[in-house]
Symmetry: none
Subunit: 433 residues, 2 copies
């Protein structure tokens, strides 16, 4: 029987709907990667008896319990005290390692160390601490055995359980996951599972499924395929091999023959990283001109560490005056075709390429919504362009496309930006061939 | 004792982390608005015995149970059959009202009515149907009495319960909520609850807790306080009043006396929205010059719909050449002080204000990391500046500050951007006084 897990989120703010829990989803992804079956996830409030009774049930029903939230320094955070009771700790001890981190974090930020901060390093004396380098509250882990005699328990008799309690702040919780997964591997005898992900962009899930139907039917029985569609980063195909040493080389080579250029990466690649690698290797530079994406395209490119090797910068020309004065878009183009037009986006791409003096540039101009749409240029429509200057001739060649999505502003901005990145990727591949 | 509820999401895709559950958050907002206390939310897989045992527990422990998911027409959706068993229905009946909607929807889409569609109108014969006008699966409601004798139950003896089962598709589930809330009001005698949130920026949670300790101790016993800290948007303080007509005016006025300008909003405000409102009301315009934040600052500002009323655009000057050529930063400043300096960020702010011709501008220059740091200018350090042009004199006044955070690139970018927004907010408040 597979090792099972439960994920518990503690905090009133989730129960009143003020915050959407995104931690549980990321935690379950990591557990699934290790072949651990997540049996349920749940959210409860900052309520001592509720925490104790619900976590007690999790310990009876599942092998691993991951808890996030309720570890802050203020009075309403009571997870630590509830865990002390649940695991029958006799008192608290100080984690010297976490104390050192607390002092370092507060000193770096010029904040005076107070008792309330010092208390963050106090942990139940029968837990093991996994230090949190990104915040003041450490991860507490408890390893014990419990007896399962509830009618709903799958496991009879005694079973080994581990509980991990993490802070609720997402980047701290996610930052702790690698250490926690390593700890889980030490405590449980897990079946070997290997995953490999292939990233595609521009082909809808159903079309992709039809394209690779035969290939999928011919996969060995110990290799499974999962579709992970995401409207802004494309469809990822995850291959999972159960048991044995994994070698997906043959399958991937076949896939590349079928899907071609729509495959942009493998493993943890994303469009901006793949683009950055190609630019760095070829010594080419990049600039950006944005309108409807408002800065998101530049932000995606600069999310890659070390991007200053190839990225020179961007102009967000939200107003037409900036398009004309800074990017040199001819006023007559805006007058005759409008700012949301193929002509304008091409002029923006060529303008920023010249002003920022780069080899490649990418530009966006569209209607993110909710307002500003018309019958001819509806909300969700954007023109995208990529310009390239040939180093030998100095000639600039520019390619453009148009995309149409729906009415949600935030989603439109994401989709415009990712489609612009993909157009840039395809153009780099073509020009550097 | 308050009326309690539980929210259950059914579907394997949530347990493997492929989908983040956003329905539960919206459902709990609506329940809280009615003064119903959501005791817990949870997600389970498409597993018959798990559905029956977990929902059975919910019926024992809470008064209202809201279930989403597992009502689709395919074989893996088994919620309806599990509910038939749980509530002991003797068979199925057809909902004539939902059948009419199914025919209408399929006809509009030009799809032929098949048995699989017809089955969607079949419901357990002891349930009441709330028709779903946005999709084919109706909402099933069950009203009954259960006996609570589990050790974890708060309620003794018999209690009235209602269970509502909704389709999982978000827009269908959310579309059904008004009808469900009306139905709940008919079945339960509800106490009143009111929430009010106050947004603060720039004071750490522990310091804030100390500042308002006395105020917190003096809150009336029916008003509760919760801290909702978030490193990038600041600490939000949520006041909750149980029963009676809520009036937080006195408490909020006192808080403003204690905390002052660190309070930037109430309710659902965020920094970029508050800034946008002030700019629009005063007819002032804004531009942005970014380096280390790479586009994030501009993206935050343009996340507010209608920002083109006051936002002109930005220059992301990632390379020094762009700082000099586009923003007009004197080369000698970069040579003598470096790009990450008070002098440079002031020149960037003043430069973009002139080039984009706006009343206000905000600029960032720092080291996001992980590389590029030095002893003098470590990773996590950024200079921020805000410039303002006095419309009467034409004089430009510029204020600057420096912030220091840690080593995580993505988090640093977020914090630099939100601190720049806060500096901008404070300067707008000061200049427009």
């Amino acid at each position: 029987m597979a090792t099972t897990a439960s994920i518990c989120t503690i905090g009133d703010e989730i129960l009143i709907g003020q915050i959407v829990d995104t931690n549980s989803s990321k935690i379950s992804q990591e557990l699934n990667r290790l072949g651990i079956q997540v049996r349920y996830m749940f959210s409860i409030g900052d309520n001592r008896s509720e925490i104790i009774s619900q976590l007690g049930r999790c310990l009876e029903e599942t092998d691993i319990v991951i808890v996030t939230g309720g570890l802050g320094p203020t009075k309403d955070d009571i997870t630590k005290d509830a865990l002390k009771t649940l695991f029958g700790a006799e008192g608290y001890k100080e984690s010297a390692e976490q104390m050192e981190i607390i002092v370092k974090i507060l000193t770096a930020r010029g904040i005076e160390l107070m008792d309330i901060n010092r208390a963050q390093a106090q942990v139940p004396n029968n837990c093991t601490v996994i230090p949190n380098r990104l915040g003041t509250a450490p991860c507490l882990s408890f390893h014990t055995e419990v007896r399962s005699d509830q009618f709903y328990a799958d496991k009879e008799g005694h079973h080994k359980v581990s509980l991990y309690s993490l802070p609720g702040v997402p980047f701290e919780a996610i930052g702790l996951l690698p250490d926690i997964m390593e700890d889980i591997k030490k405590h449980f005898d897990l079946e070997e599972i290997t995953h490999h992900t292939i990233e595609t962009f521009g082909i809808p899930e159903s079309t992709l499924a039809k394209m690779i139907e035969k290939w999928e039917d011919n996969l060995p029985s110990n290799i499974h395929l999962a579709y992970l569609p995401n409207p802004t980063i494309g469809v990822r195909l995850r291959l999972t091999q159960y048991g044995g040493k994994a070698d997906f080389a043959k399958q991937i080579a076949e896939l590349k023959d079928i899907i071609g250029d729509a495959i942009y990466g493998e493993g943890d690649d994303n469009l901006q990283k793949v683009i950055g690698d190609m630019l760095r290797q070829s010594g080419k530079t990049l600039s950006v001109a944005e309108s409807c994406t408002g800065g998101r395209l530049s932000e995606l490119i600069t999310s890659v560490a070390g991007c200053s090797d190839y990225y020179k910068g961007s102009v967000t020309s939200y107003s037409n005056k900036v398009k004309i004065n800074v990017l040199g878009v001819p006023a007559k183009i805006i007058d005759s075709c409008g700012a949301v037009s193929k002509e304008c986006v091409i002029a923006m791409a060529e303008g920023v390429l010249k002003v920022l003096d780069t080899d490649f540039s990418v530009a966006t101009s569209g209607v993110a919504g909710p307002g500003g749409g018309s019958a001819e240029k509806p909300v969700g429509m954007a023109h995208l362009a990529v310009a390239y200057r040939n180093p030998a001739t100095g000639e600039i060649s520019t390619t453009a496309t148009v995309v149409k999505f729906a009415s949600n502003r935030a989603v439109n901005i994401e989709r415009f930006a990712s489609n612009a990145l993909n157009l840039l990727r395809l153009e780099i591949v073509k020009q550097l061939k």
